[in-house]
């Protein structure tokens, strides 16, 4: 594979974050190419959300650097903000606004003109067939639709990079599959996707992934490569081996 630096969308080097004595993220390094779907996996507390927050500029790193499109996130957060879309685990859309109002709000926040917002929304709703839902309150929609719409909102201003924090938690497998179709479509169009998940089967959907435990990256590469390295038949086994190694160390 070609690891030409010009083609890198994200480059993380020795990124570290400490909270007092506790090291949440321990000098990790990885890079993501343009248009790649990159998975950050790990149990709760492994450090993946902290990593994601640093990449989004929500949290300042204790040391190390994170570059997005060759821009240092910690140094020029304002510049980076236009380049990223973010879908949070806890929150998708404003429940007391209609679907259309949610899109208009986020479009406005990212400085899109009213005309662009209207046009893009119409294209999107026709293509994905949710025209009738445009004027419904978001709270009346099924969870699966909410998650899909939240992704579209995050992607609405065409950011080169989209961060998804546990986007499919609590969603049934059918909808998860549909959700991943959306992700693929975006990636094919050249958008870089960083996704955290604790569903191990979803790891196989990623182009490449990093498995974190205790703030460090324990496995890094393509899903097949990782399986190979750990001599495992599935991700479950990889996880058990990583956890086992730690259990032995302790």
């Amino acid at each position: 594979m070609n690891y030409n630096t010009n083609n890198l969308s994200i480059k993380v080097e020795n990124l570290e974050r400490r909270f007092g004595n506790f090291t949440a993220v321990n000098k990790i390094s990885f890079s993501v190419r343009r248009g790649e779907i990159f998975g950050l996996l790990g149990a709760n507390g492994a450090g993946k959300t902290t990593t994601l927050r640093m990449l989004c500029g929500l949290l300042a790193p204790t040391s190390g650097t994170a570059l997005i499109d060759n821009t240092d996130v910690a140094r020029q957060p304002e510049k980076v903000r236009f380049k990223i879309g973010y879908m949070s685990q806890r929150f998708s859309l404003y429940e007391d606004l209609t679907v259309w109002e949610n899109f208009r709000f986020y479009g406005g926040v990212y400085g899109m003109s009213a005309k662009d917002i209207r046009k893009k929304f119409e294209d999107l709703s026709q293509r994905l067939n949710f025209g009738e839902q445009a004027d419904r309150l978001t709270r009346d929609l099924p969870l699966g639709w909410k998650q899909k719409l939240a992704f579209m909102v995050a992607a609405f201003h065409n950011p080169p990079v989209i961060f998804l924090d546990e986007p499919t938690s609590g969603v049934d497998p059918m909808v998860r599959r549909q959700f991943w179709d959306l992700i693929y479509e975006s990636a094919l169009a050249g958008t870089t996707i960083i996704v955290t998940t604790h569903y191990l089967d979803e790891a196989m959907y990623c182009d490449r992934l990093a498995i974190m435990a205790e703030g460090s990256i324990k496995a890094y590469g393509t899903p097949a490569g990782v399986l190979d390295e750990f001599k495992a038949v599935n991700m479950q086994e990889v996880f058990l081996k990583i956890a086992g190694k730690e259990a032995l160390l302790q």
Binding site: L58, Y86, F105, Y110
Partner: protein, 363 residues
């Protein structure tokens, strides 16, 4: 930021029940204060106790009865007979006149007139006693100018001649409502974004923190202003409250106070994590002191010294002085600059604290 303001207004409009409360509450409050809680006294039943029927006591009785505040229900020679009337609440006050008032006055011997009030309602009792004292002194002074000219006391109530309670409550109501709307609503709506996680999404966006805060508060400034206007109109046209000072100054001071209340609300939201906490903190830290220590119900001069010092820290206390000054006394900035400066200073402090806190949370 425009998109943000539109979104906030939509949030407000989408919740008609809350909106109704926010707009209906001031109207209800002013009507309650104006009509129900009236401390104005008219034709209160009182009794007279006297032994002899000399001309001076006759005159005093006549004057008391003729005044708008009193109606003489009984005249007795012994106060013990009135005990039951007191208990049943049929009379609210007894005026006990001594024997031979005229003769004693001529001899310049001490003359004691006793007022016995029903202090189960201390405010009313106090007022009644004040009115009665005034009437008695005036009567005595008119009949015996030479003897009594030295101690004649006229107690005319300045500015609020009729002591109409609605005039006292309008400023207080405005203060409470502005505080409630501005501080509590902004702190709740900011913590709601934090609680639901949408704050994170906003912080990742190109919106700057000050844009988020401004977008949040601008709709509430509008709503607060609307409310203040409704209260003022009701006070002016329904209750005939005087408006002696400058309208422009009052509006400017109102904006200043709204800014202060909003900065307090923002500050509260930076130190709380949940809506419930913001609500509780706003209630205890803002509502109660606003009502109790602002001087709009309980006079600050009557408080213990340490409470008086404490009340100086309460923003509403200064705004009550300003509103009363402008509306009822018609004074201008030349007398109110100190209060204005205090409010502006407090606003600055809370904004600086909030910005510091807001930044800390991000890093």
């Amino acid at each position: 930021m425009k998109a943000f303001i539109i979104k906030e207004i939509r949030h407000l409009l989408r919740d008609p029940r809350s909106l109704l409360i926010l707009i209906g509450m001031p109207v209800a409050q002013i009507l309650i204060f104006g009509y129900a809680i009236t401390t104005d006294l008219k034709e209160t039943d009182i009794a007279i106790v006297r032994q002899t029927n000399d001309p001076l006591s006759q005159l005093i009785i006549q004057h008391l009865d003729a005044s708008q505040w009193f109606r003489i229900k009984k005249i007795e020679t012994n106060s013990s007979r009135l005990e039951n009337d007191f208990r049943r609440g049929e009379i609210r006050m007894t005026v006990a006149l001594p024997d031979n008032m005229e003769k004693r006055l001529m001899q310049s011997s001490p003359l004691e007139i006793q007022l016995i009030g029903d202090a189960s309602d201390p405010n009313t009792a106090n007022l009644l006693a004040q009115y009665a004292k005034g009437i008695i002194r005036t009567t005595v002074a008119q009949s015996f100018p030479s003897q009594y000219s030295g101690i004649q006391v006229t107690s005319r109530m300045l500015y609020n001649e009729e002591i109409r309670s609605v005039f006292m409550f309008v400023p207080g109501t405005i203060v409470i409502l502005l505080m409630l709307l501005s501080a509590i609503m902004t702190s709740i709506s900011l913590t709601r974004e934090k609680e639901s996680g949408s704050m994170e999404v906003l912080l990742v966006s190109p919106l700057r923190p000050y844009e988020i805060i401004l977008g949040k508060v601008i709709p509430y400034i509008g709503l607060s202003f609307l409310n203040a206007a409704i209260i003022l109109l009701l006070a002016r046209f329904l209750f005939g409250m005087p408006f002696r000072g400058s309208m422009a100054l009052l509006l400017a001071e109102t904006v200043l106070f709204i800014a202060l209340a909003l900065s307090l609300g923002i500050f509260i939201s930076t130190i709380t994590l949940t809506q419930q906490m913001a609500m509780l903190l706003s209630m205890f830290a803002l509502m109660l002191p606003t009502i109790l220590l602002s001087g709009f119900i309980f006079p600050i001069e009557n408080m213990p010294l340490w409470l008086q010092y404490l009340s100086n820290l309460m923003p509403p206390r200064w705004f009550v002085v300003i509103i009363r000054g402008i509306m009822i006394r018609g004074i201008g900035l030349e007398y109110l600059w100190k209060e204005t400066l205090i409010l502006a200073g407090m606003t600055l402090i809370f904004i600086l604290l909030s910005i510091k806190k807001f930044k800390l949370r991000l890093e």
